[in-house]
């Protein structure tokens, strides 16, 4: 006996979120206001993503949650358990098996397919917020396509550091119209947003905004002709699986300041190790 309505939220709330998702898909990159609900977890733990997931899950789905790429962190485990309990959906840690993937701050390394939906948890959906605190003004700037300020911010990066120092939540332009915050994913992941075969949905619970990128939509990272966008990562191979092409976390491993670099996508790293790939610090095979 399950004492919750399917996927926790009541039907009227789900209808409201579903209408916002449809308008979001019809206006790619535009932030649709929605009446975010209290969820049984604090703001900042992915309440926006959870509400979007609750509105789109069906009993036949296989659900995966990642937190900074990892399936085994507290946040990922609790959200996965939450929907196991309230929606009865199957869950997985394998990117290829999932139909709905909720993510905090990463896009999986394994390319997504048309049969998958990626749900992002977003803390601050407004890319212009740190440049202009007033919502009334940022809304006007979006309506007038007045994005000069964002370019000034990137230019100031260049004049101060010699290159664009913004390394995560790197602003993108969607289908040549709205400038959008891709959530705090590393800029390494930005190219994966472009023309993705999967539907990408973004939910910001505290800020009460939902936005979306339909499949095969042009998503361009902002840059300058003489300072083109570069998807950077730590210049190392993974120390556990040897991958040269994945985004890495830097981990301090002792008091002497020794470090290791490991894939932030735990499923990608584990499947590569299962296939026999080894890195610098891999344990010896028994």
């Amino acid at each position: 006996m399950n004492d919750y309505n399917f996927a926790y939220l009541d039907e009227q709330t789900k209808r409201m979120i579903r209408r916002a998702i449809l308008k979001g898909l019809a206006i790619p990159g535009y932030q649709v206001p929605f009446a975010s609900r209290e969820m049984p977890m604090p703001y900042g733990w992915g309440t926006g993503g959870v509400q979007v997931s609750a509105a789109i899950l069906t009993p036949g789905d296989t659900f995966k949650v990642i937190d900074q790429g990892a399936d085994d962190t507290t946040n990922a485990v609790s959200i996965r358990k939450f929907f196991e309990r309230t929606a009865g959906v199957a869950t997985t840690e394998h990117t290829g098996e999932a139909t709905v993937i909720q993510t905090r701050h990463r896009i999986p390394e394994t390319p997504l397919t048309e049969d998958q939906i990626l749900v992002f948890q977003v803390p601050i959906p407004e890319p212009l917020r740190f440049l202009e605190p007033r919502e009334s003004e940022t809304r006007k700037m979006h309506s007038l396509e007045e994005y000069g300020l964002m370019h000034v911010k990137l230019y100031e990066d260049i004049s101060r550091h010699g290159h664009i120092a913004t390394s995560y939540a790197y602003p993108v332009r969607v289908e040549g119209r709205y400038v959008m915050d891709p959530s705090p994913i590393p800029k390494f992941d930005n190219p994966k947003l472009d023309r993705s075969p999967a539907i990408q949905l973004f939910g910001a619970g505290r800020e009460q905004r939902i936005y979306a990128i339909p499949p095969y939509t042009r998503v361009v990272s902002l840059d300058f002709e003489d300072h083109p966008f570069e998807a950077s990562k730590a210049d190392h191979p993974c120390d556990l699986c040897g991958a040269e092409d994945s985004y890495l976390d830097e981990v301090i491993i002792d008091d002497a300041g020794n470090r290791m670099f490991v894939c932030s996508d735990s499923d990608y790293c584990a499947s590569r190790q299962a296939q026999g790939h080894r890195g610098r610090l891999s344990p010896e095979v028994a």
Binding site: E11, R15, L22, L57, P59, S143, E175, Y216
Partner: protein, 192 residues
């Protein structure tokens, strides 16, 4: 109120509306694709697909405009019982329902505002046929080209030109549906 207004809703609303919404979302995210949707058994001339869309998306917060032959007592009663949605004039609706000829002119519906382009109407257009052929489409959600049997070309082209304002369309025929968001560009043969 006739007793048939009481039947024909979802038997298991949380599950059926979740499944129906995924079809609507896939349709809206991938213009030109056709999806089977069912669950509702609404009074004629309302199609199963349109009935299921209304049950999935509409409630007391969403004024509906019924156009032409869909403005019948049976449909009004059915909607009132199953969704509680208020009826409204075209200029104040969030959803409009009817056949293409009855829904026109499109200038009657809210297009959104520059600051809130999401405050625009969604039109549910009942069609006699629905096929992935005819007018060529491109834009977000479409890898290269898609095709859809649209009732006409000029109105959708004009709607696309309004972006980011504009209307969004759901086409229904029997138990099938397709959608056309405002972002879709229309490539018509020269004749149109």
């Amino acid at each position: 109120m006739h007793s048939e207004a009481l039947s024909g809703g979802f038997a298991d609303p949380p599950i059926q509306s979740a499944q129906a919404f995924r079809k609507v979302m896939e349709a809206m995210a991938r213009p030109g694709t056709i999806h089977e949707i069912s669950g509702a058994e609404p009074p004629v001339p309302l199609s199963q697909a349109a009935g299921s869309v209304l049950l999935t998306l509409c409630d007391g917060d969403t004024p509906i405009h019924l156009a032409g032959g869909h403005d019948t007592e049976a449909i009004r009663d059915w909607l009132a019982f199953h969704t509680g949605a208020p009826l409204a004039a075209a200029s104040e609706c969030m959803f409009a329902l009817g056949r293409w000829e009855a829904l026109k002119p499109l200038s009657a519906y809210p297009l959104g505002t520059p600051e809130y382009p999401d405050r625009s109407a969604t039109l549910i257009v009942e069609c006699d046929e629905l096929a992935a052929e005819g007018v060529e489409l491109s834009g977000p959600g479409i890898e290269a080209r898609a095709a859809l049997s649209l009732p006409e070309v000029a109105a959708f082209r004009a709607n696309n030109a309004l972006f980011p304002l504009g209307l969004d369309f759901i086409f229904t025929c029997g138990s099938r549906l397709a959608a056309l968001p405002r972002t879709t560009r229309i490539h018509a043969p020269e004749a149109c």
